[in-house]
């Protein structure tokens, strides 16, 4: 009852919904870069939404299953094949022992999630199976999976066919609008710099990863009071370092930061960061904290509704 990695892809790693309570030790929450896609994949299989999955990044893996099992792939769109025959994402796929799943060309987005109707046999660290690639712990030996790895699957099962429909079929644009709330140090910037931040279109650079997303664009001028005493830094925070180009802290970002924070991507839009690839463009749109919470309620409501529609397969 294992899955064998024939080809690893660029960065394929075990992820779940991450850790809680460890940021005070410098250990970021981690977990899936796009938790919405990841939870949808699990819900298709009747899994708990946070069941550990494989996160596929830009260039996907090739995997041979040595058990009968249902799986689901949600997130970035790839050309997918099972034993060379094209298959679709956003639905339950029935795998028979000996089948080989192959990721081909990336069509949109950046990360896809492979959920399994079963459990990968791996230890939990700080209550999570997520791989911290930067700090080297969690998941499979604290690293991305490699060619030749074999992951044992416990309680592999098959489930009834289901598919995602309508608004649950996530599609990603290469020019998203990210909604943000006012930064904790917005007053470190002049009116002109703030206007410039909201009016320009930024470009995602190749120096972006699970730690942070670095943007290219016109440099912002920082005010005189640019010295900030280091304090707690949360995912989604947009910091302006001395070169004036924003860095968005992400799920494996530092837990303490010392650059002025001009804005914070709202919780409801954080999952969109997980689907950005180099050269994508993005704009920042300001909303109030109250609006941000309303948007989060609506998005979470969608997931809850699906959970009710797709009950768990566990008895």
């Amino acid at each position: 009852m294992t899955m064998r990695i024939i080809r690893a892809g660029l960065q394929t790693s075990v992820q779940d919904l991450g850790r809680s309570g460890s940021m005070r030790y410098g250990v970021p929450r981690g977990g899936a870069a796009d938790p919405v896609a990841m939870q949808l994949a699990n819900l298709l299989l009747g899994n708990p939404p946070g069941n550990p999955v494989l996160e596929v990044t830009l260039d996907g893996p090739s995997i041979e299953f040595q058990c009968d099992i249902s799986i689901a792939i949600v997130g970035a769109q790839f050309d997918l094949a099972l034993n060379g025959e094209p298959v679709e994402c956003d639905r339950v796929l029935q795998i028979e022992s000996g089948d080989r799943l192959t990721f081909g060309r990336l069509l949109s987005g950046a990360r896809a999630y492979i959920a399994l109707a079963g459990q990968m046999k791996l230890p939990a660290i700080f209550g999570s199976h997520s791989t911290s690639i930067i700090a080297g712990f969690g998941g499979l030996c604290g690293r991305a999976i490699e060619k030749g790895d074999a992951i044992e699957i416990l309680e592999a099962r098959t489930v009834d066919h289901r598919r995602l429909e309508g608004e649950y079929r996530l599609r990603y644009t290469r020019h998203p609008q990210l909604r943000v709330v006012t930064g904790a140090e917005e007053n470190h910037f002049g009116r002109e710099a703030i206007d410039h931040f909201y009016s320009q279109t930024y470009q995602v650079t190749a120096q972006s990863n699970r730690m942070g997303i670095r943007l290219a664009g016109d440099a912002l001028r920082r005010g005189n009071q640019s010295q900030v005493v280091s304090s707690g830094l949360c995912p989604g925070t947009v910091q302006i370092p001395p070169d004036g180009r924003p860095i968005i802290s992400f799920i494996e970002g530092q837990t303490i930061g010392g650059y002025p924070r001009i804005a914070h991507v709202i919780s409801a839009d954080l999952h969109l960061l997980g689907q950005l690839q180099a050269n994508d463009r993005l704009d920042f749109t300001p909303v109030s904290v109250a609006q941000a919470h309303k948007i989060l309620e609506v998005k979470s409501g969608l997931l809850e509704r699906l959970m009710a529609e797709f009950p768990g397969n566990d008895n």
Binding site: S20, G21, S22, M23, R24, Y25, G26, V27, R29, I125, F126, S132, I134, A135, G136, F137, G138, G142, V181, T182, A184, V229, S230, S231, G232, C234, G236, T237, Q254, T255, I256, R261, H264, V265, I266, S267, V289, A290, A292, H293, L296, E297, S300
Partner: protein, 242 residues
């Protein structure tokens, strides 16, 4: 301690309780005691707490924790805490950290020497003299923010950070000194290396210190560096002030 504070939004899912006072032992005791008090409330939806020099970040889940209710509760809890001396639920400890300052581990000793006008021996003596206060952990897993570096050792960061600083590297950056827990890029001037692992995710004690503990560096030779075992780390209770 008289101190004013403000509660400020840190995004849409965290609040910062910021104190209007300079970083100090007293302020860090206040912030750690406050973090423990918040934790003891077990409020629904409150998650990570991140103490820092002048600020406690309280993360919350907006889906089951109302922002303005939480602000009000934090405000009254902080006021109540400020009316009494900080109550801490653990006694701070002194942790003695061996550092090998041999040339092969100290690529930037000459730079620090030129900047400070001190010899390597003087730099080592001054670096080992203080008991450094752990204000907080953060940045990367297990990194300790230490207070108390001798002002004579202050030294600017490198203009261009190194791409790869080894785990255990001991450095000086501006007015701070510290140990790199993992192999990372870094811009501090490296003057030594410790065999102590600052982050052991598989261990029952993944971190060597907690906030308010103190760290003392002591010089060791290459043999002692090689032979060091983590379970021989010297940890003693800090004497309470007379």
């Amino acid at each position: 301690m008289k101190s004013s504070f403000a509660i400020v939004a840190n995004g849409d899912s965290a609040l910062d309780i910021r104190f209007d006072a300079s970083p100090s032992l007293e302020l860090s005791e206040r912030i750690i005691a406050l973090a423990q008090a918040v934790e003891a409330q077990r409020w629904e939806g409150v998650g990570d707490l991140i103490p820092a020099y002048q600020c406690l970040t309280v993360c919350y889940n907006p889906l089951n924790c109302n922002n303005s209710d939480l602000t009000n509760r934090l405000e009254s809890l902080t006021r109540q805490q400020l009316r009494q001396p900080p109550k801490l639920d653990r006694k701070p400890r002194l942790i003695r950290v061996p550092v090998c300052y041999d040339a092969e581990f100290a690529p930037d000793m000459r730079e620090v020497s030129e900047h400070t006008g001190l010899s390597a021996e003087q730099i080592i003596a001054r670096h080992c003299a203080p008991d450094y206060l752990v204000h907080m952990l953060g940045f990367t897993p297990g990194f300790l923010y230490l207070g108390g570096l001798d002002p004579q050792l202050h030294c600017p960061r490198k203009a261009t950070p190194e791409l790869r600083v080894p785990a255990g590297a001991v450095g000086i950056g501006g007015s701070q000194t510290g140990i790199y827990p993992q192999v990372t890029p870094g811009g501090w001037q490296i003057i030594g290396r410790t065999p102590v692992q600052l982050f052991r995710p598989q261990s029952e004690t993944p971190f060597i210190a907690e906030p308010l503990d103190k760290i003392e560096f002591f010089p060791v030779d290459r043999d002692a560096f090689e032979c060091f075992q983590q379970d021989s780390l010297e940890i003693t209770p800090l004497e309470s002030a007379p």
